[in-house]
Amino acid sequence: MTTAHDHGGDVRLTGISKTYGSFTAVHPLDLTVPQGSFFALLGASGCGKTTTLRMIAGLEEPSTGTVRLGEQDVTALPPYKRPVNTVFQSYALFPHLDIFENVAFGLRRRGIKSVKKQVGEMLDLVQLGEQARRKPHQLSGGQQQRVAVARALINHPKVLLLDEPLGALDLKLRRRMQLELKRIQTEVGITFVHVTHDQEEAMTMADTVAVMNGGRVEQQGTPADLYENPRTTFVANFLGTSNFIGAEVAEVSGDDVILKAGGGKLTLPRARCPAPVTTGGTVLAGVRPEKISLTHADDAGTIPSGRNRITGRITDSSFIGVSTQYVVDSPACEAFEVYAQNIERDSRLVPGADVVLHWNAAHTFGLDAEQSPFAGTTGPAGADKAEEDA
């Protein structure tokens, strides 16, 4: 479908923004989606991700900036002249046409007469060959979703835009469709730009994820990179869960930064601090809950040296099958989350027990202390805090 020597298929957004009256949906942003990649725009509702997608599709006119597809500036082109197709959140299948005609719609509009073979192949690709003569309302949600994908893909667009296409499906079907879409993308090699608010979906499917917040791109990178090296608390909280400890820089020694927090000392790799640190300054030291081990205070002596440690008391524990999630109250951070794999369970680890939290110092990341540690959390406190922050 796409030839190997064709490198001019990148989507390039330059200084693109969208304002409605006094409200700015998207602040001027630059974004490059490499050809053939699976790119996810991730963010909570209202963060501007769908508006960005619609500007690529031509359904929304940008207030400033340009949209380029390869070498072509398409900013002024109406949607029907752009080599881009969209899978809509509501699917927007034509209710008066059967599945075959829905899929053939784009081909017919471009004046292609013999569509039968192509449509048949496309329906086979999405495993709906049997349903060709049915009307959309006779299909299940998952089948309709696949028709919507087929209807867009058959045109071999330069870019396929997916606007939360899995939002209406139940969890199990959604997981299956994620793998399905990923398979199709690998098979056809078309650039996919996928908008979603589901971080797990973005991480499963995309090669590159751009996290959006308040009309801006907070950070962009591979899922693993975003998860391991978040540059803002928003990203750290939106992708998974993070614990933050407000700490003071005690000294900088070689590749490590030594922090004072809650009466103890923590080590933070200097390479994982985005901003330059100075002795006496403050940073937010973050660590993911699954990196932390939990040891009962009586066994504190068995913890290998060199690991970061924090003492605390378990306030809550919930068993969720593969792991147990603990909430630990400690002087350094009042609600420390710890996920422990259920391999060997220590029966003493119940609410009220004094424990030592410890983790490999290399798993600590540092963030600018100027921001709210609650940005991007879904809890009401987090949302409020985030709003105050904004």
Partner: protein, 308 residues
């Protein structure tokens, strides 16, 4: 498969609950009763009475008797076929005009009116607040000889074209077919706009975006998506306009002349002036049969049986 288990609970109900259930099941029929009675007394019975009248012979003085004189139908058709033809022609022209005027307006209300939507809808219905007769009489003034409308049409040479088509007569509009068609169009326009609006309003605006995204220009989007999806409105709108327009006599009476008489006028004259009840009844039945036939054909042809 689940129906069985859902159907089970009524059977397991305790015995005293049963009579209440049966009464509950009859409630819809009780509620239907007034309507059925109304239809029986004011529609079915008069229809039977008319049917019998149409096959009677006799005179006012001697009284009428049912003699199964079906020849009345042939005579009526033979004498008044031009009026029948005219009715279909005028009603058809008015329906087409209503569609041409009403569709853009309904489209505007459904997709573009925004906060003005309700106001425009009220304006569409507003004429109903005044009497049908008064409004039709007003058209007499509007189309009066030497009036501004006729003057404008004349200076634009539109009247030359319509005169050539036989719709107007020289520099007159009043008392011509055009005046009757204008009146019909005006009076039945809301019956076209409202069903059109209802079906257009149900068309999901996102389908327009989807069509645009799939390389359809705005005109193609209209032809391939909007229009097919609004067909139920087009069909019900044209029926609601054509059927009453074909039987109308007020417009032809007030705005037309003896040359523009429609079958409604003939029926009215036969019933109320000439007092030839059998012929009037026969004409009514022929009109009814003709409309039923045309409507059935139309619905079959437009392929919207399931949408109606």
């Amino acid at each position: 498969m689940t129906t069985r288990s859902e159907a089970a609970p009524p059977g397991t109900d305790e015995a005293p609950a049963r009579p209440a259930r049966r009464r509950g099941r009859l409630v819809p029929y009780w509620l239907l009763l007034p309507g059925i009675l109304w239809l029986l007394v004011f529609f079915a019975l008069p229809l039977v009475y008319q049917a019998s009248t149409s096959v009677q012979t006799g005179s006012l003085e001697e009284g009428y008797k049912v003699t199964w004189h079906f020849a009345t139908y042939w005579d009526a058709l033979g004498d008044y076929w031009p009026q029948f033809l005219r009715s279909v022609l005028y009603a058809g022209a008015a329906t087409v005009l209503c569609l041409l005027l009403g569709y853009p307006l309904a489209y505007l209300i459904a997709f573009r009116a925004g906060r003005w939507r309700n106001l425009i809808l009220v304006l569409v219905i507003a004429p109903f607040f005044t009497s049908f007769l008064i409004r039709t009489l007003a058209w007499k003034t509007i189309l009066a000889d030497g009036g501004p409308v006729v003057g404008a049409l004349n200076s634009l040479h539109i009247l030359d074209v319509t005169s050539w088509l036989g719709a107007t007569d020289g520099d007159r509009v009043l008392a011509t077919p055009l005046a009757v068609v204008c009146g019909l169009t005006y009076n039945f326009l809301p019956f076209m706009i409202l069903p059109l609006y209802t079906s257009l309003e149900r068309v999901d605006g996102r389908l327009h975006e989807a069509a645009g995204d799939l390389y359809a220009r705005p005109a193609t989007t209209f032809r391939k998506v909007t229009l097919p999806l609004s067909m139920p409105g087009v069909v019900s709108g044209t029926l609601l306009t054509f059927i009453p327009a074909a039987g109308d006599y007020v417009n032809a009476d007030l705005l037309g002349s003896t040359d523009t008489r429609m079958v409604g006028n003939v029926i009215q004259t036969q019933f109320l002036r000439i007092l030839d009840y059998p012929t009037a009844a026969a004409l009514s039945f022929i009109l009814m049969a003709a409309i039923l036939f045309m409507v059935t054909f139309y619905i079959r042809k437009s392929g919207t049986e399931d949408l109606l």
